[in-house]
Symmetry: C3
Subunit: 355 residues, 3 copies
């Protein structure tokens, strides 16, 4: 701690940003903590001098405060922590006669939510969220669902205005897809925007276990005002895996990284059962679309309440350099006495020309 540079020192901050910039090519190397790359005392070092759990059962108030701070620091320094598996990865289609063909295999996997916490998940193609599908308005798309689960399932394309028989609701628009069976959806993509796909069968369990993903449709005629340098999908969830962003809890969440002056588009999607008011530090968000439909006029905020099933698209003009906390403002979704957790990530705004 004592080796950590003073954070009010602008030079140190610039140093960090300059060093951090070298890491931008692979965001997972970007560190949240401004002093992570210094010779700072690690929790272990500190413990050797000021034991967090001393031999005597009585801790002074200061020792208790230090012990708590060490847990908080440990979490921040671990960010972004490496875990097994990464969800929400772009899925390239196979082209068959002008049709974009995707295969989604639903099956049970083990999923590491945070370092050392591995849970049972039901996943598409081994990912939570399932692979990210990106198509264009008017594309012909075929999605083959292969069910390797022990339950029947089906896929609903949430937000797409499909013909009724492609809507994916068992017993209303199709039979359930039984274990071991497969089912093929095929349609021309009718409307642009940030949409989702997920199970619509026994969905409390199936979506809560991970059967969900982003389905992004680029418009035929994009608005110039919506042009962005970085396009980031953030799927919120609060199911059986705890509070997660793109399937991971802090410190295993992924930072959003950009360069000062760039515009970042964030596509929030709530696949959970609770609201999550996402708060960005340091800059505001300009809300441009709701459920894939452009808002009649953009509006600004720093805390955006996202309800289950909703998608909100925002633009952030990255004017303010630094590493900025970005989290759900329902505090127990983001922190405990042991440090930050769950729905916390960072927006990292790197200074331009630093490398």
């Amino acid at each position: 701690m004592s080796d950590c540079p003073p954070f009010t020192d602008a030079t140190s901050r610039r140093d960090f940003l300059r060093k951090g910039a070298a890491a931008v090519a692979f965001p997972a190397v970007v560190s949240l903590t401004a002093c992570a790359d210094t010779k700072a005392a690690t929790p272990a070092d500190t413990a050797s001098r000021t034991p967090a759990v001393p031999p005597t059962p009585v801790l002074s108030a200061r020792q208790k405060a230090d012990a708590m701070d060490e847990m908080h620091e440990k979490g921040v320094k671990a960010f972004p922590a490496k875990t097994e598996g990464k969800g929400n990865q772009p899925l390239q289609p196979r082209l068959e006669g002008g049709v974009k063909v995707y295969e989604l295999t639903a099956e049970e996997i083990q999923w590491e939510v945070e370092p050392g916490r591995t849970v049972k998940a039901w996943a598409y193609n081994g990912q939570v969220p399932g692979p990210q599908i990106r198509v264009r308005e008017g594309d012909r798309v075929r999605v083959k669902l292969i069910n390797k689960l022990s339950q029947s399932t089906a896929i609903h394309f949430h937000g797409l205005e499909l013909p009724n028989d492609q809507d994916g609701v068992p017993f209303i628009t199709q039979p359930p897809v039984k274990p071991g069976e497969s089912y093929t959806y095929e349609f021309t993509v009718p409307n642009a925007g940030s949409h989702m796909y997920h199970s619509h069968h026994n969905a409390v369990i199936q979506v809560g276990s991970g059967l969900l993903g982003a389905f992004i449709v680029a418009p035929k005629r994009p608005l110039p005002a919506h042009r962005a340098d970085v396009d980031y999908v953030m799927v919120l969830n609060d199911g059986f895996h705890g509070y997660t962003l793109n399937g991971k809890g802090f410190p295993a969440t992924e930072p959003v990284v950009c360069t000062q002056g760039q515009t970042v588009r964030i596509r929030f999607m709530n696949e959970g059962m609770m609201i999550h008011p996402m708060h960005l530090h340091g800059m505001h968000m300009t809300v441009i679309a709701k459920d894939g439909w452009d808002q009649p006029a953009p509006w600004k905020c720093d805390t955006l309440n996202i309800a289950p099933g909703e998608r909100w698209d925002v633009l952030v003009k990255a004017t303010n350099p630094g590493t900025w906390a970005f989290h759900c403002h329902i505090l127990p979704h983001a922190e405990s006495e042991h440090g930050m957790l769950g729905m916390v990530t960072a927006l990292v705004v790197q200074k331009p020309g630093v490398a």
Copy 2:
């Protein structure tokens, strides 16, 4: 199941819609399931061949999946299920010297929420929600409340900008209306929109038990852009009767029925204690009013978050034929492992000229 027509077959879907159209005169006959009128295997039929509860205690994974699917199918096929009692029915006023006179009797009743689940309710005129009152801006209205409950009560006209002494809050604007007593409100309707009336005394219990209803005020000069062919009030609740739409839980909820090309106005009203993000499949909703006040510009969504006390008016252009799931997207409010429940209904878009 095996007799159910293939749902990806457009002909079958057209058949369904053609057959379904004959039922549109009485919406309760509209069936949610595309194969309900075929010689499909019923759960009972299926059970005779593949017992859901076999004599041996061990079920294979496939048998378990089938058993679950049968419960889901049973719920869907039962929709819209017949139950005793119907809430939210239009109440015709008695005219007395130009005044529209309504009588609301609050008393305890038995209320069938879903087939076979009957609960104690406190109701206006034996209905949950209470009868729907529709007046016009500027009308003179008299509402006589007759209290046959064991508790005092009072009516607050939620959203109407009445003179203070008509506001219905015991000890602030009036004395409570004691058991066995009656109380008369009288006012000139000041503002248009989708409003509500409900108890404002011991309201957690009284509103949670059913003392609530819709109070719709037509504007003097309706906007042409808001013209609708179907005008539907949907009261959301999550009180002592469980998750309900207009006082009933799925499969006893009522479908919204229209013809392709029509415009449907839906007036959402939340009388519960939780948010309910209502998600419509297949088409978007255009939001035109909040709490009875026109939005400065309409905006589109497919999932609309409705908080307690809020009213949101939307228009749906029924472009997409079929039977569409329409439900709260907090999944446990809409489904369990036993099938769909609570806050689920359907928007049924019939093809025109089919009869």
Copy 3:
């Protein structure tokens, strides 16, 4: 009760308002109940004639109703109840070379939430919410945090777009401020609007215990359309102190008082962990800003859903004279069988020229 004038009698109402007007100079004297200044039977008086807890164990239904009503009446008559301590009080800065200097001392105190209910709180300058800071866009501001708590802490200026090193997040932008230590923030205020300051360390506990306050920034060029006669900050919370408005639960909440014809600006801020849809009786609210940013077009409502971390600014044109209930519409946040509680206050619109 029997002495209470009939509330549907306009003369009595006018009398009340005329008498109430004399009290407007000191809002705490304004009474919520329309018959508080009559020789009405008090609950104690009534009890001597109709004991709420009679010697026989059996109460008739009417006696039970009366006993419940008496509890409700008692709460209303007590409003606004006097308690020890008042939060959210304007803090005058010390001027040092053109810099506005504020000192905030975090320490543990006892806080009376409602009459007779005193809880442990962590407070800035002995207040919950902490003192209200009001500055102007472009001001140079210095905030010295003195930590007299047993835990480390830090201040995040929620909504201000500060340089990264002033953002107040331990281990990301600064070290934690240890018990007994102090820390100084200094910045030029970058953006106008209704913002907040609060702890960003162990925040579930620290914010939930009271370490929060309003930080209001007046714009350099205020919009004429946003001019208001009364400017009221309403901080919502649901932490360890229960459901509170500006740190107090009903009947110890503070009424918002104005004169008919005036415009009232209310700045809602949610420092809790739950949504709170605030419902105003008798008049609508015009929403003008979100998180300090002007909405592109104002819009109207009577129930405004405020999520954790959000700020919403509204204008109320006080057209309708009287005392109006103003409360969270999640009913258990506002009432129980024992009467109103928690997140309830009143908007009192006095007739002009009455004194």
